[in-house]
Amino acid sequence: MKTANIIIAIPAAASALYFLGLWAGPYWQIVALNLTMWIALTQSWSLFSGLTGYISLGHAVAYGLGAYVMASLFREWPIWLIIPTGGVVAGLFALIVALPVLRVRGPYFVILTFGLAELVKFVLLAVDTALGQSSRLLFGAPNTQTLLLWMLALAAAATLLRHHIGLSRFGRGLIAIREDETAAETIGVPITRYKVAAFALSTVIPGMVGAVMALRSTYFEVLQVFSPTISFTIVTMVIIGGSGDARGPVMGALFLVALAEILRGLSPQLYLIFLGLSLVLFVIFSPNGLTGLLERKPR
C-alpha cells in the first residue's frame, strides 16, 4: 500500500472503530480496546524483531514498566504526562540493556530476553513486597471510551511508525542485519547503533500501552503486567499475521482477538486448541502468515 493511502486509511479505520465502539456499547468498547492494544504492541515489536530478525520475548517488560510508572505516579502527576513517561522509562531501560543483550543472536537472544523479562518481574515483585505494596488500586481512572481513544492513537502511531521505518533507509539497514549481519556491516551499515536504536524505539509505545492498560484494569499487580503471556501473544500474532510489513500485525491481532471473542461465547476450552492448531498450520503452510497468503494469490 502506498504511504499516502496508509496515512488516510489508518485514521479512518481508527475513527470508524471509535464511533462503532460508542454506538455498540461497553462490551464492544472493551473488545476494541483489546484489539487496538494488541495492534499497538505487535506493530512495535515488529519494528524491531520483524525487521532485524532478533526475536524478542522480553517486550512484556516495556508493557510492565509503563504500567508500573502509571501505578506509582497515579494521582501525583497528571495522566497525560504519566503515559509518555511510561514510554520514556521503557525506552531508557531498553537502551541500557541493549548493548549486553544484543551481543548474542538467534536462539540465545530469544532465551536471554525471556530470562531478562523474568528477572525484572521478580526483582520488582521483591521491591514492591519490601515496600509493603504487593498490589495497588487505581481509583478514579478515566472511562473506557477515553482509554479507547488513547489506545487508538497509540495503535495508529505504532502502525504508521512501522510502515514508515520499513520503507526508510534505517529500515533497509535493519533488514540487511536480518539477512546477513556480517555482510551488512561490511557494506557500511552501522549495525550496533541501528540495533540499539530499533530495540529502544520498539519499546516506547508498549510502555505507553502498559500505562493506559493499568488505568483500564484499575489495579496493579506485578505478576500480571509483566506476564510472559504478553510477549508470547505478540509473537503468536506475528506468526499468524506475518511480519513483512505493517499489515501483518493488524491481521494477526484481528485474527486472535476475533477468535477469542467468538469462542468465548461458544466454548472457551476450544480457544487454546484452535490457537495451537492455527499456529501449527500457519508455520507449516504459510510461514509468512496471512500477508503471505494474500500475496500468493495474484501470482
Partner: protein, 249 residues
Amino acid sequence: MSLLEISNLSKNFGGLKALDSVTLRVQEGSTHGLMGANGAGKTTLFSIIAGNQPPSSGSIIFQNRRIDGMRPDKICRAGISRTFQIVRPFPGLSVRENVETAALFGRAQPPKQSELGRIVGDILSECHLADRADQPAATLTLAGRKRLEVARALATEPKLLMLDEVMAGLTPKEVEEMIVTLLELKVRMNLTILIIEHVMSALNRISDEITVLHHGQLIASGDPSEITANKLVTEAYFGSEDNPKESPL
C-alpha cells in the same frame, strides 16, 4: 603513490600465526594480485583490512589515514570494499535490493533517492545482472552470486576494491566474462584492485604486481613474470626439486 600501506601486520589465532609481520604497499590505480596456497593468510589479510577482524599488531594506512581497528562500516565509507570468498548475499532480498542497500550505506555520502535508481541500474548492467534484477538473490547461480558480490562492493563507490576469489568455481567462459567486466569497471570507476585468485592465468593477465603469501609470511613480490620465475614461489606451490620428499603437497 601508494593508496594502501600495510606495515608489519601480524595476526595470531592462539598459537597459530595466520599473518606474520606482513608489509605490503598497493599503488594507486594498480591491480595487485595476492596468491598463496590454502591457509596462507590471504583471506585473513582481507578481513583485517576491511575491519571484520582486528590485527594482533602492525598498522594499516589508507590514504594517509590509519584504519586498523576501525569499524567495518566506517572503513567501507572511507573507500574500501571487499567481496566474500564464501558468498554472503542478502538471500531474501532481490538482486536490485542487495545492490541498493550497499549504495545507500556504503558511500561517504548517501545518494539522493532520485539518483539511486540510475546508480544501481548502471552497476547491475555492468555486472550483467540487469535481467535478473528482480529475482531473489538466493535463486542466482554461483556465477551470478559472485557477480552480485562484485556489484554490491562496487555500489559502495570504493577507491580500493578487494576481490576474494571471485573466479573460483566458475567455468572458463564465466572466468573470461568476469575478467572483461573487471577490466572495464576498473577504468570507468578509477579503481585500485587487490585481488586474491587461484586461477593463475587470470591473475597473471590482470595484475600489475603480485604478492605471494606462504604460511602467513610474505615470500615474494613483483610483476607477474618475476613471480612465475621465482624459485621460492614454485617451491612453496610444488615443493623443491632437490628434496621432492619435503613437498608441502
